[in-house]
């Protein structure tokens, strides 16, 4: 990156550090923070949508749909989420390959599961063994996002179904009195009002999601934990930047990063709560109203 970095062994301490921290591997490390934030940006809306679907399914009039919704929302209650993170990617991968196998090579004579092997025909492999390296990377990231979305969708469904039942019954009765259909009263009355009840739960969920992102490492993605271990490990003099075991400092840096991320988002959520409580029939909304009228009269 800098001109003087060509021979690190001759550099003074500050320059050495500067060169070390801008080495290509460190640039990749900094980019992996982007991977984490990107995953958050994709997963959060996906999980929210899945959660909304799950919460709606729980209220469905059709019994199998309702059972599905109940099953989906309660699956995260008794089972550790890490089990899902390990299970989902490989299960989805095998399911997709199996489906493709059935469609693409219907006259394959051997069974797919042979003892301790899972073999599909070459054309059904996902991604194809001939495809570029980035396709493989993208596919593994896709599987990770899917796993995160499904698990956090189940958490979100818990929060949203709680919020839906928390909307005062009188509001829905008023909607019915106005002759709104079930669908109309759901979209026009329930959905706009439920967010203020959902926000505390959702903000908590966001924090849990943020704190779950290092688990990407378990899914074999080159994320910040991977780089921290890789870069921090002791380097002998055969490397251009030899140093002892610095993993402790790298992990300290990650710790600070996460502390910053969670405390910033906590502040943002607090602000959003103030906004959303405005004019709501809740304690916070009432307190705001009183504060406003006091200001006017004073």
């Amino acid at each position: 990156m800098f001109q003087f970095c060509t021979d690190p062994s001759l550099l003074s301490d500050t320059r050495w550090m500067l060169c070390y921290l801008t080495s290509p591997k460190h640039i990749a490390f900094y980019y992996s923070f982007g991977t984490v934030l990107g995953l958050l940006a994709i997963t959060a809306p996906c999980a929210l949508m899945l959660g909304f679907g799950g919460a709606v399914a729980m209220r469905s009039k059709i019994a199998p749909v309702r059972w599905f919704g109940r099953g989906y929302t309660s699956m995260v209650r008794g089972i550790p989420d890490i089990v899902f993170f390990l299970f989902m990617p490989i299960a989805v991968d095998q399911a997709l390959e199996w489906l493709r196998h059935k469609v693409i090579c219907p006259d394959w004579p051997d069974p797919v599961r042979r003892g301790s092997d899972f073999v599909v025909c070459a054309e059904a492999k996902l991604p194809l063994s001939t495809s570029a390296a980035w396709v493989h990377d993208a596919y593994s990231i896709f599987l990770a996002v899917l796993a995160f979305s499904i698990v956090f969708g189940a958490f979100a469904a818990n929060v949203l179904s709680g919020a839906m039942t928390a909307v005062p019954r009188a509001q829905m009765e008023t909607a019915e009195a106005y002759g709104m259909s079930r669908r109309q009263s759901f979209w026009r009355i329930l959905v706009p009002q439920m967010w203020v009840y959902a926000l505390p739960g959702l903000s908590n969920l966001w924090q849990i999601l943020v704190k779950a992102t290092p688990l990407l490492f378990l899914l074999g993605i080159t994320d910040i934990v991977y780089w921290a271990r890789e870069l921090g490990g002791a380097k002998t003099s055969t490397f251009s930047y030899p140093h002892p075991d610095w993993r402790l400092y790298y992990f300290l840096f990650l710790l600070v990063f996460y502390l910053a991320l969670t405390s910033v988002s906590e502040r943002l959520f607090r602000r959003a709560m103030v906004r959303l409580s405005h004019g709501q029939a809740t304690m916070a909304g009432e307190a705001q109203r009183k504060a406003d009228t006091n200001e006017v009269t004073a």
Binding site: V76, R77, G78, I79, P80, D81, I82, V83, L86, F87, I90, A91, Q94, R113, S116, D117, F118, F155, N158, V159, G162, G201, N204, L205, I208, V210, K211, A212, T213, P214, L215, F217, L218, V225, A228, R229, G232, D245, R247, L248, F251, L252, L254, L255, Y258, L259, T262, S263
Partner: protein
């Protein structure tokens, strides 16, 4: 080989008793159930020990956070902030790296009269190192829960205690503490469930499984990798954990009833089994 034989060979494999080698070929359902079940010993050990040790620590943290004295409040605040604001996964890694850097031969503590050598080696092993992290982590989460409950102890109860002439320790032990526990119990139950779930992270986070003695998820991943079939071992872990969760809910429900035994039946808060997201 009969299933009973398998149970004898692998039932206590997770703590190093029985067969030395893990099954590699001809893996049966019985193998998977037995070995994953034996791994559950570690989950129960980590969860129960961290909860038991963390209980008094979390009460101390809650009192510290609620205290007027800044020398108590600020450290408690920071402790809770650091452990609640960062991922447990990173905490495990960080602690492991820190424990590894401790001197091999132990730390010599020079007290004026005697010299003590504190053994540090065992801290790099999961049974102690991971337990320390889990203990600190659950103390922080439960501390926040107890702090919230401490702040919502009804004013009337405290005034009544004052009116009876109770002060200091007596007032705390007879009025404030029982009331705090009663209010915090549903959230604390939730925290306990999450803690047991979090114990599955231990062997995926730097702490090596010594002689392949791991927890339930460690063995489940072992089988999933060996058989390349995730559809058997992971549902087994899931089933074990659902049983464990139900057991916890029952246990904490019994304690909840005991804490509420003086409250009029209709005023008793039911232990809500709906999951709260406090982590």
């Amino acid at each position: 080989m009969s299933c009973w034989q398998t149970v004898q060979d692998y039932g206590l494999r997770a703590i190093g008793l029985g067969e030395r080698l893990l099954p590699t070929a001809d893996i049966t359902l019985c193998h998977q159930f037995t070995l994953i079940g034996s791994g559950l010993i570690w989950n129960v050990y980590f969860g129960a020990m961290a909860l038991a040790l963390g209980f008094s620590m979390s009460l101390a943290l809650a009192l510290g956070k609620a205290s007027q004295n800044p020398f108590l409040r600020v450290p408690a605040d920071w402790f809770i902030f650091v452990f609640r604001g960062s991922p447990l996964f990173i905490q495990f890694f960080l602690a492991y790296e820190a424990f590894v850097l401790l001197p091999r031969n132990g730390i010599e503590i020079n007290l004026i009269f005697v010299e003590i050598t504190a053994e540090t080696r065992w801290l790099t092993r999961a049974w102690a190192g991971a337990l320390v992290v889990l203990f600190l982590n659950t103390s922080a989460y439960a501390g926040e829960i107890f702090y919230g409950a401490l702040r919502s102890v009804p004013k009337g109860d405290l005034e009544a205690a004052d009116a009876y002439g109770m002060t200091g320790w007596i007032k705390f032990r007879r009025v404030t503490l029982p009331c705090t526990l009663r209010l915090a119990w549903p959230s604390y139950t939730n925290e306990a469930i999450f803690l047991f779930h979090a114990t599955t992270l231990v062997y995926f986070s730097g702490f090596p499984a010594w002689r392949q003695q791991g927890d339930a998820l460690y063995y489940a991943k072992y089988f999933a990798d060996k058989t390349f079939n995730p559809f058997v071992p992971y549902p087994i872990v899931a089933a074990y954990f659902i049983c464990l969760t139900l057991l916890l809910i029952w246990l904490f429900g019994t304690l909840h009833k005991r804490l509420n035994r003086h409250v009029a039946p209709e005023a008793r808060s039911r232990l809500r089994l709906r999951m709260q997201l406090v982590r």
